[in-house]
């Protein structure tokens, strides 16, 4: 077995220090080492987008990053958005517009849309579809997801 390396990482505002095998994928680290199972694994080759998280504020595929590479960085996962009793406006919008069915791709989409809405507070339909083009959904056909993102942009704007 190769030498373990230290990963000193902040996830959802909480700091963790662990010794890991270099080959441990960030997706597995988050899910099984830190038990943050909201981030899902769909393909492990960077196409489906279910594992998308925020790495220093930018959306990235956690299956294409080694946990060791997160050393010194900040990660945000879906668990940081809201709780069952207090949903984030983005999550509210998804519920209202039926933007999820099985829910498996949903955390990856939420973490993709979150920074997108910060840079595109009034997105057009085209911009939304381009932004979520790297997230595969097999259940919804995307139409309600687009509606949810539009509604979310309005809710977030109203909040400010």
């Amino acid at each position: 077995m190769s030498k373990l390396v230290l990963v000193d990482v902040t996830v959802n505002g909480v700091r963790y220090q662990r010794q890991v095998e270099p080959r441990l994928l960030l997706s597995d680290f988050l899910r099984h080492e830190l038990c943050l199972t909201g981030t899902h694994v769909g393909c492990e080759h960077g196409v489906c987008g279910a594992c998308t998280i925020l790495f220093d504020g930018e959306s990235m595929r956690s299956c294409l990053i080694f946990a060791a590479q997160a050393n010194g960085h900040e990660i945000r996962t879906v668990e940081s958005l809201g709780t069952v009793d207090k949903l984030h406006p983005l999550q509210e919008a998804f519920q209202e517009k039926h933007g999820l069915q099985c829910g498996f791709c949903t955390p990856g989409i939420l973490m993709t849309v979150l920074p997108f809405l910060e840079t595109h507070p009034e997105p057009s339909e085209d911009e939304i579809r381009e932004a979520i083009d790297g997230n595969l959904c097999r259940c919804t056909g995307y139409q309600n997801i687009v509606e949810a993102v539009k509604l979310a942009s309005e809710k977030i704007a109203a909040r400010e």
Binding site: M1, S2, K3, V5, E21, P22, R23, L25, D28, E44, H45, G46, G49, T52, F55, E58, S59, M60, R61, C63, L64, I65, F66, A68, Q69, N71, G72, T112, F116, D126, R129, E130, A131, D133, G134
Partner: protein
């Protein structure tokens, strides 16, 4: 689909990285953005014994305008940073035009400009642009330090001149001559998926409106980005005309490429599509060179030209 074990090094400086690569020799592999390497490792199609991770080397992340009107881009600069950089939009708009076609935003947030070059994918957009814009690659090892032109840098499928103990440190993009037009066009089965055929062109006119320089580069049609010199030659000394563009496209698409067939497209289709794309790219590039359109024009998914 978990990767095989490897030894891991995370140098903090270029010097440290070069030392590490010198020590590891054939056993060492550079890890840049990882967006191509890690999927291959997860499939166990790649099983490097050791990875030298460049992601902690801040000194490799920069976009620097140069006095001659060009750019220097550090190898670890993230694709998305390049995509939205105002100075890149100004000086090398072709890159910004092409970026939205490269995978998806999440990949571009991690993937690096230099990494894509070193990966040398024959379908890779950035290698294609490197040839089209005559970029120059700066390669270093512990004992060596040299520059190579893009057209000489790519030697075959997934192969560049980089030796096991070497790494790409920066890419130089020359200034675009005045009255130049660039354009990128591709056909892929889906947005962000690998191009079936892609074309990147740069044309330059003199004050009379005659073409004094042209690069026509095609992707996914051979073992590396193909520079269609014969086709370009047809354009030199001409005023851009539909006839000249047609002639150039015909030559480029029939004589200068040798695409293969796969489950997505036949070779014959690729020839035909290459012809169409060269025509479209040249038409638009000439319009931009003449000032009738702009190099910074973005195409949206809904209004990509579907005209003939």
């Amino acid at each position: 689909m978990k990767p095989a074990p490897f030894d891991y090094y995370a140098p903090a400086s270029v010097a440290e990285a070069l030392d590490q690569l010198a020590e590891l020799g054939y056993n060492g592999k550079v890890l840049a953005g990882g967006q191509s390497l890690i999927p291959a490792m997860n499939f166990r199609m790649a099983q490097p014994a050791a990875l030298v991770d460049l992601n902690n080397i801040k000194e490799l992340e920069y976009i620097q305008p140069t006095a001659d009107g060009g750019l220097l881009i550090g190898t670890m600069t993230r694709d998305s940073k390049v995509e939205y950089s105002p100075v890149v939009i100004q000086r090398a708009a072709l890159i910004c035009e092409t970026m939205p076609y490269i995978a998806h935003p999440q990949i571009r947030n991690r993937g690096t400009f230099g990494g894509a070059m070193a990966h040398a994918d024959p379908a890779g957009q950035l290698p294609g642009l490197a040839v089209a814009l005559e970029m120059r690659m700066h390669v270093r090892s512990k004992t060596n330090d040299y520059w190579v032109n893009a057209d000489d840098f790519f030697v075959g499928p997934f192969a560049s001149v980089i030796q096991p103990d070497e790494m790409l440190v920066e890419v130089a993009i020359p200034a675009l001559a005045p009255r130049s037009g660039t354009c990128y066009r591709q056909v892929s089965r889906q947005r962000g998926s690998q191009a079936l055929v892609a074309v990147a062109v740069r044309v330059t006119l003199d004050e009379k409106g005659e073409c004094v320089g042209a690069n026509i580069v095609m992707l996914s049609v051979g073992e590396r980005p193909i520079l269609a010199k014969k086709a370009a030659g047809v354009l030199i000394g001409q005023i851009a005309s539909a006839g000249a563009i047609l002639a150039a496209a015909e030559i480029a698409a029939t004589e200068e490429i040798d695409p293969g067939s796969d489950i997505h497209a036949t070779a014959e289709y690729r020839h035909a599509a290459a012809n169409v794309l060269v025509q479209r790219a040249l038409t638009e590039a000439f319009a931009r060179a003449q000032g009738r359109s702009s190099n910074t024009q973005k195409t949206s998914i809904q209004n990509e030209d579907t005209g003939g």
